[in-house]
Structures are given as C-alpha cells and as structure tokens.
C-alpha cells in the first residue's frame, strides 16, 4: 500500500489534491479548492501554510505571487511513487483493448503501427511502440532473388518472423541457377545463427556463385550492423492539444520525428528501471515539458520491446500507466508463442475489402 514516505500525511494529501486538480483543470490550484477537496478537513489558511512548506521543499511552485500552486516535477514524482493508486482501465477501454487484440491481424509492422494507434486512442496522448530488437534472433531462411539483369534482392527471415531485405548490385549477369545455388549455400551457412554470424565454407567451385555469396554475406553484415531502430509513433497530433504554445508543439514533434532519439529515450528510461519519467528526469531537453510513461513488452519472460506514452507533465499518470501496461502485456502475449488470439480461433480471412482506388 502506498504510504507517505517523507511527507506527513496532511502534506501528502494536499499535494495529491493539487496534482489531481491540476491534471484535470490545467489551472494553478489555490488553497480554497484544496480545502474543498475530499479528505481534507482543515481551513484554507492551514492549507496555505502547508503549501508554503511544500513549495519550500520543492513539491509545488507558484507561477507568480498570488496565484495558485502548480506541481513541480518532484511533486509529480512523489505523486506517482507514493500517492497515486494504480489506475484501472474503464470497462469501455478494457473492451477496446480486447477487441483490438482479437481482431488484429496481418504483419508485425502493421500490427505495431496499429497498436500505437490504439494506445494513443485510449489515452489521447501520443504513443510510441518500440518493436523487439531481433539482433539475437537466429536466421531461419536466406534467399537471393533475382530482380533484374544485374540486380538481386537478399531476403533473410529471422526466427521471430522479421524479414530483412536488401538489394544487391551484381557485377555481372547471373542465372537463376547461380542465385539458387548461392541461396542454398548461404542458407546452410547462416541457418540458426544470428544475422552477422554466418561463416561460409570455402569455395563452391563456381566463381559466379562465390561472388554472389560474398556479396550477400557483406549485405547481411551490413543489415546486422544497422541497428534497425524503427519506432512506431501514434497520434502525434494529440500533442498539439496538450500544449498551448505552438513553439512547444513544434519542438516536441520535431524531437519525436527523430526515431533514434525516441528509441534511446525509451531504452534509457526502461534501463533505469522506471516506468515514468517526468519533465527533465529523462534528460532530453526538448522534451522537458513532457512526461513519458513506459511499459515493457515481454514474450515468455524475454524483453521484447516496449510501449510508451508521451504527454504533458500534467498527464493522467494512473490512467496512462494502466493503459500502457495493459497494452504492453497484451501485445507481449500476442507476439509470444501463442500467436493465436485469446479467443482461440485463428483469424478468419473474411475481411476482404475490394480496394481498388479509382484507377
């Protein structure tokens, strides 16, 4: 049970009241409002003096004299750690999540994309879905497919279902047979090893095959090296409503466009064992007016990416946490061994829309 730690109960109650009120109204909250809040049975004067103390201790701040108080990052932090009771999803939201995971289908990427949409929908914050890194996933299949005269595509399937591909410019024309032979050799060499680790036994006798194999190995190494740090961002437009300064919006959005930054932000937060990073805590300056909520996704106990939410520091932490955790968990299950959705039956291939533009 969350209990106060270094604040006496009354201060804690006041802080809680301020935070919840401010999260709701976005207006500085004054002693009167707090006094009226549930569970507080002292006069506004008392509240005031307590608030002075809370401000001195760094939990609250005043935008200007004679205005109400606003929680500081530290105040939010205390709220999240000590006060907020674990949020619960409303029944409607819970249902949305279930529906989604029952009905979702198709490919991993598409699924993650839509998952981020879901999260953002649930919370009306911007969401982020970090796909599982597949650095360590063993190779299941390697194939070189001819595309044009001197052009081939290397396609590698990993055990986790990821497909990596890369075009290769060939030095000279090559027959399909050569490609097939090269594929076979590569397959034999790389099978079950992680992407970079294949070692091909000496020569095959056919120099053309050797050449393709060499190219493909190089390409595989390249692919393995390029940490494929894609990230799926959902509902960035929600951020526009979260801040009123258009410049803040721009700064946050433009940070969100840098996939690498987002990835390392999430990783950092997770690594520090946090599920919430508030304001400056995460150390990414342009996001200092934002809070980040992260929930890991795990498949069979293995770390397999994460989902996160990005909103203003005055975000609804309990709800955001609940949503992120729920979605993270369900996503883990979905990605995990039991690929079949909870309700058992494999997804029916029914929804077939005739989708020809007007062409």
């Amino acid at each position: 049970m969350p209990d106060t730690q270094d604040l006496d109960p009354r201060k804690a109650a006041i802080l809680e009241a301020v935070v919840t009120e401010y999260i709701g109204s976005a207006q500085p909250v004054g002693s009167h409002h707090v006094a009226r809040a549930a569970g507080i049975n002292v006069s506004s004067a008392t509240i005031r003096s307590e608030m002075v103390a809370l401000e001195r201790e760094g939990y609250l701040s005043q935008p200007h004299t004679s205005a109400g108080r606003i929680p500081t990052d530290k105040g939010y932090r205390f709220f999240v750690d000590q006060l907020a009771e674990p949020g619960v999803l409303g029944p409607a939201q819970r249902q949305k999540v279930s529906r989604f995971f029952e009905q979702v289908h198709g490919e991993m990427e598409e699924m993650l994309e839509r998952t981020s949409g879901l999260l953002s929908d649930l919370t009306s914050y911007a969401s982020v879905v970090l796909p599982p890194g597949h650095e360590s996933a063993p190779v299941r299949s390697v194939q070189v497919v001819g595309l044009g005269p001197r052009l081939a595509l290397l396609v590698v399937v990993l055990a986790d279902g990821a497909v990596e591909k890369r075009t290769m410019d060939l030095a000279e024309d090559v027959t399909d047979e050569v490609l097939a032979a090269a594929s076979a050799r590569l397959q034999a060499a790389a099978q079950s090893l992680p992407l970079g680790a294949a070692s091909v036994s000496a020569s095959s006798g056919d120099p053309a095959v050797d050449c393709v194999v060499a190219l493909a190995r190089a390409a595989m190494a390249e692919v393995a090296a390029e940490a494929h740090d894609r990230v799926f961002v959902g509902g960035p437009s929600r951020l526009a409503s979260a801040f009123d300064a258009v410049e803040t919006v721009r700064a946050v959005l433009s940070t969100l466009e840098q996939q690498l930054v987002v990835v390392s932000l999430l990783r950092d937060v997770l690594e520090r064992g946090l599920s919430v990073a508030i304001g400056a805590e995460h150390g990414y300056e342009p996001l200092s007016s934002c809070a980040v909520v992260v929930a890991p996704v795990s498949v069979d106990g293995q770390n397999a990416g994460a989902v996160g939410l990005l909103g203003p520091t005055r975000m609804n932490y309990p709800q955001a946490l609940a949503a992120a955790r729920a979605v993270g968990e369900r996503l883990g299950q979905r990605l995990g061994g039991s690929l079949d959705p909870a309700h058992g039956a494999p997804v029916p291939s029914g929804a077939r829309r005739r989708a020809h533009g007007r062409g």
Copy 2:
C-alpha cells in the same frame, strides 16, 4: 510562355506583387507596398482602385475593412498558373539533392522514408512520398518459412523488389520438407503472375503439402487485396510553424495521420492532372487552409508513385514545385532500371548553365 489570360497586365502585376509579398511576410499587403514593388509605376491610389476590382473578381480579399489585401485561393491559382516563373533550386539545395541520391542506399522503404525527409528539409514544408503501387508487379519468388511449431511465414518477393509477408497459423505441425515442397509448388504456380492470380494445379499427393499450399494461397489473396497504401510523411513538425492557430495544426496533423486520406488526396490531385491544389480545391475540408504540391515519380515512363508537399496556402509555390519535381525525377531514376547511383545519367530537360562540381 505564361502571359496574362483574363487579367490585364497591370492587374496581373499587382496580383503578383501581393502574392509574393504575402508569401514572404504573412501580413496583409497594402497599396503602398505594392506601389513600391518592382515593375509597378503607378501611385498607390491607382493600385487601390485596381485592388478593388481584383477583390470584386475574387482574386483578393480583405481580412477586414482598412486592412491590406490577402490573396484568395483563386488568386494563388492565377499566380501559379500564369504568373510564377518556374522556380529553380538554389545551388545549395541542388547539391543536397545530388548528395542524397548519391549516398542513399538500403531498402526501398528506408529510402522513401529518407526521401521524404529530404523534401521536407529542402522546403521546410511537410512532405509526402507515395510509393509505387505494386498491384501489377509479377511475383518473383514465393517461400514458406517455418517459424514455430504451427507457425509459418509466407514471404513473397515481387519483381519490383517489394517483399510481402504474412504469418500463417498452421493446423498442425509440419516438417520443413513439407514447407519446402509447398514453396516449390507455390513458386511454380505464382511465378511471373501478379499477386492474386496464381492458380495451383490439383493435388500433390501429400495432403499436408496441399493444406499449406491452400493456406498460402488464401494469404496471398488477402495480401493482394489489402491495398498496401502506405505513405511516408516527412517533417510534420514543420506544419506547427506554418500556422499560428494551434487548433489548425492539430486538425491538419491528425488528417495527415490517416494514411488512406493522404493517399487518396495525392491520387486525386494527380488524376486531375494538377501539380498544385490550393485550399479547398482538393475537397478535403480539414486541409482547406493548406496547399498541396505534387510531382509524379515515373520509372521508365511508368507511373511509380508520387512525391508531394503540404504547406499553408501561402507557400512558396515555385520553390516547392521545383523541389518536388527535382526530387520526384531523381527518385524515379533511382528506382528505375539504372539502380546505380551514377548521376552520369543525362540531366533532364531543364536547361541550366550553372556548372556544378563533377562527381
């Protein structure tokens, strides 16, 4: 040779002055400023009376009495069609483009993603890259790869280098040999046909193989049906600076999040043979304060997607057009037969005398 069409030269000159001035300053422009503009040798009073006429004819509007004039959509349209001389990229930009296409590599999707970044960088508007639809591309390779006990991945490579994949839940455990056999049969049946069109000859004798083949065919049909209308949006944060009303920003961004809408917007504009759609012209209400600039991408004369820019109606059309066209063209070359980045390829028609560094 753009000449005035239904405006006498002086009106046209005034309109041009208003548009260019307004594009630069975002402030309503008054008769004085116009009078001072180059090529106008009449007094402000004359300008005023002309402006009254232009307003009556729908080319200009007044935010309120006693303010300067602002171009209407019709005004911009006239400007774009009749007045603006074809923009040219500055040398710095030109170089950026060249550099980019020399250095870009990796997979199609990544390349398109980065292309949209480039376009957005060049223009500081939000950009959109519409990948070539590959409905008609023939299948080059079909493969079923086992992932888990009852889980397999169908991987289809199309001739244009696109890779489609889909997980398949198998009814029962299947050996790798069965999958290989199924792959072979599928490959034989689908090879060189468009995605949906494969027809598999009767039975193979092994019911397990038949089962996998049937599943895979269904999956292929599904994949073919799902018009895979992805679109790459670059630099949406630029939109935040383009409008000052945060609500406009939100609305535009949220429209931009709906990939389908964006795709059909671009298609519509292209189909109507336009390269610019201003304000309400495109009929997408939430984007009525935006203008869209589109340039087709063609590979060997074949339509292969498009690139576009999205900005406020008071955008720099000549520059945007130039950038979109240049990038579209280069992208087409890059995607086209000559996959090698050699820019030794003849530079298109636009005669230019500016010597640029040899590469």
